[in-house]
Amino acid sequence: MSRIIATRAIRGAHKLVARAERELEAAVAEKGPDTRVEFPNTGYYLPISHGILGLRIETLGGLRDLLAEAKGLLPPVPSDTLWLPYLGNTLDAGMATLFADEIIEAIKYTRTPLPYLPETNPRDGHLWLGAANDVIMRERGIEFVDNTAPGFAACVGYCPTNEIAVRIARELQEKNLYVFMSAATDGKSMAQQLAEEGIEMGWETRLVPFGDDVTATIHALGFSTRVALSFGGAQPGDYQRVLRYNKNRVFAFVLALGPVDDEKHAQAAGAINYGFPTIADTDIDNILPTGICTYEHVVSPVPHDRIVSKAIEVRGLKISVTKVPIPVPFGPAFQGERIRKEDMYVELAGTDKHGFEYLHGTSMEEVEDGKVEVIGPEIDEVAEGSQLPLALWIEVAGRQMQPDFEPILERRVHDFMNMAHGVFHMGQRDINWVRISKEAKDKGFRFEHFGSIIHAKLHGEFGKIVDKVQVKIYTQEKEVMDRIDTARKAYRQRDERLAGLTDEAVETFYSCTLCQSFAPNHVCVITPERSGLCGAYNWLDGKAAHQINPTGPNQPILKAQAVDPVRGQWQGINEFVFNASHKTLPVFSAYSIIDNPMTSCGCFECISCVLPSTNGIMTVYRNFPGMTPSGMKFSTLAGTVGGGLQTPGFIGHSKRYVASNKFISAEGGAKRIVWMNRELKEELEPELRRIGRSEGIESFIEMIADETVAVTEEEVLAYITRMNHPALSMPPLF
């Protein structure tokens, strides 16, 4: 905890509480204790005292109760010998400040003429709007709830130049944030600077000048308190809920511009109670993570050109781009569209030119969100029918970003690009190919729009992981070739990582309970070597999904102590499965088809089941309509194995799992397969041949029966006996 900040904030709080007391007593003396106080046209009394304390203050005299609360919270100013003051005291001082602010601002409303305009926009040189009335609150507050406006920036003080003030305001507006302005320093404020530049202000433009007094900052916090009360369902006085709602739902922060005096420090301390951090352009020291705000609490000094993006990062604000800003229609309907040569304006990469696409994570400092650069000719600088090389160099940064997520994000580039009407994209990595139609080019589509698409979609779909995205588009041979080796090296490393990703190499598996709506007791346990039984989720997907939705259906499960490494039982996994299966499955084996096998929902790609007389198993893919040697068709089998029940001898699984080293490894693995439907066998042929080779049985795949040679268990037994299938000489299954 910064001693400088704590000392100044607590000192500021003392000053403001003293000022509130002075002004309150003067007002009571002048107007009497029964004089009505209110923020006009609001149904929430004075919002801070009502929301936080549950007070219903309606008179000047009533403000004395609030003053008493403020005084009660005021901690002593830290002595010079206290080197590590406690954050709690600073927070209390901050809250006392907010109470004092509210007293001072409420008194202003007893004056005539009113110091604030009652309208929604400034007029006739009157700048300051004061507290928002209920109409504004209803209209604007809902935007905080549905995320049309993720939050606000409470800007205090002034910028070194008007130009900087305008730039910061514009940048905040572009992010759909409200700009609440208050607290002049030495008579100068950001709102005045904007006014001097002729910038239109008011609720409609989201640039709201509250007041030049430092205490007018309270109207920003009052606004967000009322949002919590009216949209967040918080009860007046339930301060925990009010504050938590603001921390989790209202993405607000304080921008401290110019010199920061004690009183402004005190406001910052008040804002921290709401989870709103302060970012300053001057050096006012730092308060790094301690747990009230999502990340840091106070960060300074930050240069003006980076202050908005830094604030967004520190607040943990996720930028969502709802409309992809490109001049052609965009949506899944345009996937699968081929741009014919005749309709094509330009072609990139493909068989004749080099190309690649590479996404990687890097540090926050190195990525400027939304920045797109085209290095080399743009589409309007090349002739119709041109062929160009293409490198899509995508850099992302995020507090939750991990190298493991890079391929997951990168492989979506194909889907994203194809959604643009007039853009055709094939392949991935260094096998890629792009065409743009003449029509799209005429409508204004440019290479830079690849960047716009990727930026918008990555934020939209991976917002929890990705905070910043920048894209470089290279369309010159030399530039592409200079970088292709870096990308190829990364692809290789990823493949090696994936190949080396074994169950033993990780401490954590992931659960998947996505299907509990169909099978309430079913739990998928996804390990590096066993994907979800639907085939859609592998371990890395589970890991990424958990980051995107930490409370969602994919939870990390610590393996903990191994109970039976051969069958694949661990203490941590057993406990998790027991609880997640609503206490129906006390033991779970990851690698066995016989002992406590994994349950199934109904989404399995394949079913394997024991054919007792063969000492082996059969595996059938869900598309196979015919009869299987188990005497059941797939649909009947599915009824046996699905529904979240452990059925010894039966498992549902993904196609890929057959090729895994952990495929029923407790019973000897894929060598046990004596029958497969032909299409599945054919698809997995390379993998089955590999398994055969590694077992020293070159013709293993030929030993596996299929529907063309056997449809009953007897026929399978006859066939595998003739072929001398290895299952016959393996230990008995039971």
């Binding site: 699968g336 040569k341 094939m426 599945l680 590999r690 063309t708």
Partner: protein, 250 residues
């Protein structure tokens, strides 16, 4: 999108008819045409005057034998799609995809399932799809799930030819729901149809769409390997095809 499939015994001039139809469509209707050469004795590309790249058959074999390490961590579906898209021959007035050599031993269900999907999506991009089929109609029955608006069964003007055309047409019985209208087209006809031929047509219950006359220019071109495109637009065969196409509601 309208799909025209041309079927018939080998040697009846299916590919020539397909090429004439493609030329007519590109000159009169639209150049958004996908030509599908589904005859394993590939020669539609010669008639159209373009060089083949990779055939679907070759791509399918590559995928079948390729071990699981497909490039770029692609799925088999993605790989196949990429390969097929790159194999497309982009002619002046049409695009051409060639199915290539027939399947070897072993089961092709899996590969063919993927192909069906990809080809259907690809075909959706064109105003016209013209499929030149092999006699056995393997392609139509197994490799596409394409809806056929017009099935043209080609025959010479002999009773035996028409009986064969009837058999081919019946082969597609199970595709009934996917075929809009079927017609008989007689090729290399000289003079009026003999009575027994007309009787055979009635017997097979065929609707005769057109009789394309013998055309010396065609024979000459075939011999010299000159593309149809270079043929005079007023040659008897081309004119007859034009009249035939006018009769279809395209």
């Amino acid at each position: 999108m309208k799909t025209i499939a041309i079927a018939g015994k080998g040697g009846t001039g299916k590919s020539t008819l397909a090429a004439l139809i493609i030329r007519w469509l590109s000159e009169r209707k639209s150049r958004s045409i996908l030509a599908v050469d589904a005859d394993s004795n590939v020669n539609l590309n010669d008639l159209l005057g373009v060089r083949l790249k990779e055939t679907i058959g070759a791509i399918r074999e590559e995928m079948r034998t390729r071990i699981s390490d497909l490039p770029g961590g692609m799925t088999k579906q993605q790989f196949l799609e990429y390969k097929i898209q790159t194999s497309l021959v982009e002619g002046p007035d049409f695009d051409l995809v060639a199915m290539g050599r027939p399947e070897g031993p072993g089961c092709y269900c899996y590969a063919n399932n993927l192909l069906q999907d990809i080809l259907r999506t690809l075909a959706g991009n064109y105003d016209y799809v013209v499929i030149d089929n092999e006699a056995g109609m393997e392609h139509l029955s197994r490799r596409t799930s394409q809806v056929i608006d017009y099935l043209l069964v080609v025959s010479d003007a002999t009773t035996r030819g028409i009986a064969t055309a009837g058999r081919i047409s019946r082969l597609l019985k199970e595709l009934e729901t996917r075929i809009g209208r079927r017609y008989l087209v007689l090729n290399r006809v000289s003079g009026p149809l003999p009575g027994p031929v007309e009787a055979a047509i009635r017997e097979e219950n065929f609707a005769l769409l057109a009789a394309i006359p013998e055309d010396a220019a065609l024979l000459k071109m075939d011999g010299e390997g000159i593309p149809i495109r270079s043929m005079a637009a007023d040659s008897p065969a081309q004119l007859a095809v034009g009249r035939m196409m006018d009769g279809l509601n395209l």
